[in-house]
Amino acid sequence: MPGGKAGDDVGMTSDIALLTEDLTKFYGQRRGIEGLSLEIRAGEVVGFLGPNGAGKTTTIRLLLDFLRPTRGHATVLGLDPRRDKAALHRQIGYLPGELVFPGRDKAEDLLRFFAAARGGVAWSQVAELAERLDLDLSRPVRTMSKGNKQKVGLVQAFMHRPAVLVLDEPTSGLDPLMQQEFLAMVRDARVAGQTVFMSSHVLAEVQQVADRVAIVRAGRLAAVERVESLGKRAVRAVEIHFDDPVDPAEFSVLPGVRDVVVSGPVLKCTVDGRIDPLIKAAARHEVMDMLSAEPDLEETFLSFYYHAEGAGDASRAGA
């Protein structure tokens, strides 16, 4: 984007961990993902954002070779997901979005199976992760709560220290404390040079750890941005308290100003981009108070998503 950070490549290796070109998947007539072209460098942490049904899981399942593309292709670590599946999966840690474990094993036995199936993972690595996530391995996985199942899923994804972590909704079911612990695990993975590709519809968590975010909507890639540049172009929520009632029409015509709601002397709106026109317009009145919320990815994202869809959806974004 214009004004984005020049020299994104500085300090990065040229190794491409994950590459998709025109990756497309239709289920009959129904679109999963269409024309996705994405490039993720080794060692990057990339958040994959979008509302439910946008095509995140379809993309991830294409990368893992559960699905075969209708068109286009993907490579992971330079390897073909289908042809090189066995070699590739040794280097991928995968957390499914719909987490179901095979069998009725205790967590320990299940993880020993994964350890053996991946060519022998040192048990100390498993124990370390389990301790970090405060997970009791002696219980059957089937009887566990959703949160504890999710921890088992995370342990199996991280246990063999894979070069690439592909995580579908990784924090789903985790309590806030464990979400933070998970984010710390992602930071550690980044330090260790692992590449992380994680889908989410909760943006706060991605904002904390990701280098870049890829945003999909309705099966198409809407944007790929560095997290910090998303912050710059962010939409902010602004609330201005005037001395006297004001006319909403005066503000709704301003560039970048949307969702104008006036109740008596209080104006609420969102501002996309420069805030200056709004300030100048407000200055014509007696301003008692002004609040501008910290721009966060959630609003940026919603604005991106809904405003592009048209006015009908904008009302839903007003919350």
Binding site: Y27, R61, F66, R68, H89, F113, R118
Partner: protein
């Protein structure tokens, strides 16, 4: 050492395997052991059923040892039992875990699709073979023990046929599961096929002009050769094994080519 997935498959199926082993063993042992006590009542039973019904059930006579074994173990309930076992275990290789979602994490391990399918086949197939061979093993012990007057080689031939029949239908069940990923499809299609081909064999043996349909039925290759009287028929057994093998190979190929868990 065996692949982790093979061991895991056995472990996950262990309750079912123990249940089927116990069931098939009890069925074989109890029926065969009743041979001596049964002899008095056999004539009554044989007279009680019309000849057409006896033919349909594949019961030639219940008085000779061969006729008794045919009527009890090999004609209806025995094959029914081991085929139910074969079909449900084959449904567990791919269809069931695909439907409940548990297959995804197994497939995320470093194995190719085909290797995954083969390891599931080997695990389920070996367990199934063991269960289908239980009548064989027990009959080799019980028949001499209770002094049934029949050549053990003929009993072995019929028992081997039961194993071959299981391989045939297990292969078909695996193919359906590998192609559709639906447990209900495995049970309905393979079960329906078993019933239809059983009927084809029975009716083909009774109705003039319809003898040819027997050649379409796996049951004909299993028991239509009357192994309890005539001994080994390797070509027929081989036909069953080859059909099962062909279905299994087709299943692996189809599974390797399709989307998973859609």
């Amino acid at each position: 050492m065996l692949p982790a997935l093979v061991r895991k498959t056995w472990r996950d199926d262990r309750l079912a395997l123990i249940g089927w082993t116990g069931g098939v063993a009890a069925f074989t042992a109890i029926y065969t052991s009743f041979y001596s006590q049964f002899q008095g009542a056999a004539e009554l039973k044989q007279d009680a059923l019309p000849q057409g019904m006896l033919d349909f059930l594949g019961i030639a006579d219940m008085l000779s040892p061969a006729g008794y074994l045919q009527a009890t173990i090999f004609s209806l309930v025995g094959p029914l039992l081991v085929l139910m076992c074969a079909i449900t275990l084959a449904a567990r290789t791919i269809a069931r875990p695909e439907e409940d979602g548990g297959m995804e994490l197994m497939l995320a391990n470093p194995v190719s699709r085909a290797a995954f399918a083969w390891q599931r086949v080997v695990a389920a197939g070996s367990a199934l073979t063991g269960i289908a061979a239980i009548p064989w093993i027990l009959l080799m012990i019980i028949v001499p023990w209770i002094g049934m007057d029949i050549a053990l080689s003929n009993v072995a031939a019929a028992s081997a046929g039961l194993v071959a029949l299981v391989w045939c239908f297990a292969g078909i069940a695996f193919l359906v599961g590998a192609a559709t990923g639906k447990r209900a499809a495995v049970l309905a299609i393979t079960g329906g096929l078993a019933v239809a081909t059983y009927m084809a064999n029975a009716i083909g043996g009774m109705v003039d002009g319809w003898h040819w349909v027997r050649w379409l039925s796996p049951f004909h290759y299993f028991i239509g050769t009357d192994p309890l009287h005539t001994g080994w028929h390797p070509a027929e057994l081989l036909a069953l094994v080859l059909l099962g093998a062909a279905a299994t190979i087709a299943g692996v190929i189809v599974f390797d080519r399709r989307d998973i868990g859609v």
